[in-house]
């Protein structure tokens, strides 16, 4: 299987292309004319200071926000994503920074929220969903046991693993992870890193938002850096150092101007 880099070099259409995306909240341009792309089997890091517009950008892709301007292409086809259902229909799955869990429901209800398994009579099949949930949790987090309690009773990390399970269960082609390891311990963070490698090997494209430059250097193929809603630049991780990335984030300068594209 060709690597993401080879696919990119071959000039094939990217898995996702977000072109000249802009979105404003009451006069403030949260995302200002940003273009990013993603190839199959590739992890693209999104970096930037707090409030740079990273979450807002990916929420345009996940259907949570509607862009004011710009275009989105999936496999070269222009698509309109106006709500989360459209995104799911395009096999885009998202782990939100806020996790987006219904706290009063248990893990399996959250895992299948909006896509419940049903019995032949059309009734929600809780037993089957719990069984599936136990399956995937067994792979993601073998220690997870609280299947019948509302997720409000879970620890931050446990909640995060429910959100991760939800994103990977449904055979995503495009995965958006907004600070997926923010609440995780070191061991669990390593498990997510392993998971990302696995998913990548399956040809899934991943947008990864992470504040930790080291893990971005380790996990990502490319990184796009944002500052004040604008794109500073997109770089090949192989071509840059930690310090280059840091200076892009902090100073907003692109040290390898022209290295990309």
């Amino acid at each position: 299987m060709p690597t993401a880099k080879e696919i990119r070099a071959s000039g094939a259409a990217p898995l996702v292309e977000m072109k000249n995306i802009s979105i404003a909240f009451g006069g403030i341009k949260a995302v200002d004319d940003v273009s990013v792309d993603l190839y199959p089997g590739e992890v693209v890091g999104l970096l930037g200071h707090n409030g740079a517009g990273k979450s807002t950008l990916i929420k345009v892709l996940s259907g949570a926000y509607q862009k004011d301007e710009g275009e989105i292409f999936i496999n070269g086809q222009q698509v309109e994503i106006t709500n989360p259902r459209d995104a799911r229909a395009n096999n885009i799955e998202t782990i939100y920074q806020t996790l987006a869990l219904a706290d009063n429901l248990d893990a399996d209800s959250n895992l299948f929220l909006g896509r419940e398994l049903v019995t032949p009579l059309g009734l929600v099949d809780d037993a089957a969903m719990e069984a599936e949930c136990r399956n995937i949790m067994g792979r993601l987090n073998p220690n997870f046991q609280k299947f019948n309690e509302p997720v409000s009773a879970l620890s931050g990390g446990q909640r995060q693993s429910v959100a991760i399970a939800r994103a990977v269960y449904f055979n995503a082609r495009i995965l958006i992870m907004d600070e997926p390891t923010a609440a995780l311990g070191p061991h669990e963070t390593q498990m997510v890193a392993d998971l990302i490698q696995q998913l990548k090997a399956q040809g899934i494209g991943i947008f990864l938002i992470d504040h930790d430059v080291h893990s971005v250097m380790e996990l990502c193929d490319r990184a796009s850096v944002m500052k004040n809603g604008q794109l500073v630049g997109t770089v090949d991780i192989a071509d840059v150092t930690d310090d280059d990335l840091l200076s892009m984030i902090i100073l907003g300068k692109n040290p390898t101007e022209g290295a990309e594209g």
Binding site: A64, L113, A128, E130, N143, S155, G156, Q158, Q160, E188
Partner: protein, 430 residues
């Protein structure tokens, strides 16, 4: 990816008797409160409270509020409120009364068998449409439900007034009156048949739940617990029907019924009322709503949206359309309650349903529905309605002065919510 502090949960075979039976402690608490209340009133009324007759009356008086309370659970769980239910009941009742008394007899002829059918269908339709309209304003125009239904409270109460010019409309259709309670009961035989069906249904549901769990290898209750639970359910159903059957039709009334049919009454005949049709409707509504809440996507989405509206939206749930459906269902149930309430009174009065919004909300809230959304059960709302009605009738029977009756009901409402908060804290839920 777990907190290493939260390690495997202990095995199932721990816990006391109640935990083994997997009974809901909240349910037990509410039933306990209701029983204490009944025993207390029985003591103060020298045994007049716990009689088949009073039990029968209590059930038929509770039906209208209880049916609406089922809908209110969904509304409140979804983080909304509906202050217009009493007024909506009045409007739908007015529509049905006008059709039965003024309009349809002129078209079809007095006493035509289709009159009640058309009236009921029209009433249910009007209720559903008005509910949907209010839901649309809440969901799509994003006007707070409090405001929409406060407006609706004024509008529909006075639409009802306008429709009937403020007059009492009656008498209602004879068949229609069967929905009222006393005038329409199943009789003892059919009541026992219903009991048998209910027992079969309940046991089947229990067994089916157990099988579903077992088929995925999940732990199930020990057999003795299952048997005990079944026995409790059977006893409850049999006791309920036996009590309603034990209330016999007064001799005088029975004689009149025979006279109307031109027959003479056999000497020493005793006929029990049995299950009122209105109570049967409540039971069917409650079972249906409980299934909707627990076992359908619609119900799951109501609870998810109440727990976290953003999460529901991000999961692809169309929360606006959901709101329309919830309010439409509420409107439908208001109309159904209007059928029962106006049939019980045997005419449509201008003040029908007055203060019902408060009773309905109180029933849902006493039954453990959290106004913050996300939590609430159908059975809780029904027990809540029963508690409210028992309080009201009990105090009337004891002879408590009218102002004190309402003072007590108001106090109980606040107290019940406080107890619920304490309970939730103690079990660690939010």
């Amino acid at each position: 990816m777990t907190d290493s502090s939260a390690q495997p949960v202990p095995e199932k075979d721990e816990g006391n008797l109640l935990q083994k039976l997997e009974l809901d402690t909240r349910l037990l608490g509410m039933i306990g409160a209701l029983i204490i209340l009944c025993i207390g009133f029985n003591f103060f009324t020298d045994g007049r409270f716990l009689t088949p007759r009073n039990f029968f009356n209590l059930t038929i008086q509770t039906v209208s509020v209880a049916i609406m309370a089922c809908g209110m659970v969904f509304v409140i769980v979804n983080r909304h409120i509906d202050l217009s239910v009493g007024a909506l009941l009045a409007t739908t009742s007015a529509v049905m009364a006008m059709l039965q008394v003024e309009i349809l007899p002129g078209i079809l002829g007095l006493g035509h068998p289709m009159i009640w059918v058309i009236a009921v269908i029209a009433g249910l339709l009007v209720g559903t449409l008005i509910g949907a309209f209010q839901g649309w304003m809440v969901g799509y125009l994003t006007i707070p439900a409090f405001i929409v239904t406060l407006g609706g409270f004024l509008v529909w109460r006075n639409v009802a007034w306008y429709l009937t010019s403020g007059q009492t409309k009656g008498p209602l259709d004879q068949t229609f009156l069967m929905f009222g309670g006393t005038n329409g009961t199943l009789g003892t035989t059919w009541s026992w048949i219903f009991a048998a069906l209910a027992i079969v249904g309940a046991l089947y549901a229990l067994w089916n739940g157990r099988r579903a769990k077992a088929s995925h290898g999940f732990p199930v209750k020990p057999i003795w617990a299952e048997v005990t639970l079944s026995a409790i359910i059977v006893a409850a159903i049999v006791g309920f029907i036996a009590t309603l059957n034990a209330y016999t039709i007064p001799i005088r009334r029975l004689e009149r019924m025979f006279q109307e049919r031109g027959e003479t009454m056999p000497e020493g005949l005793v006929v029990g009322y049995g299950l009122p049709i209105s109570v049967l409707i409540l039971i069917l509504v409650a079972v249906a709503m409980a299934i909707v809440a627990k076992r359908t996507r619609f119900g799951r989405y109501i609870y998810a949206t109440g727990g976290n509206p953003d999460a529901a939206e991000l999961s692809g749930i169309n929360t606006r359309w959901l709101t329309v459906k919830i309010f439409a269902l509420m409107g439908f149930l208001c109309a159904l309650s209007a059928v029962i309430a106006s049939a019980r009174l045997s005419n449509h009065g201008n003040d029908i349903g007055t203060l019902d919004e408060l009773r309905v909300i109180a029933a849902a809230v006493i039954g453990g529905t959290a106004l913050a959304g996300g939590f609430g059960t159908i059975y809780g709302a029904i027990i809540g309605a029963l508690i409210m009605q028992s309080l009201q009738s009990g105090m009337a029977m004891v002879g408590v002065d009218a102002p004190f009756q309402n003072i007590v009901v108001g106090t109980v409402l606040v107290l019940a919510v406080y107890i619920d908060i304490v309970y939730r804290k103690s079990v660690g839920a939010k």
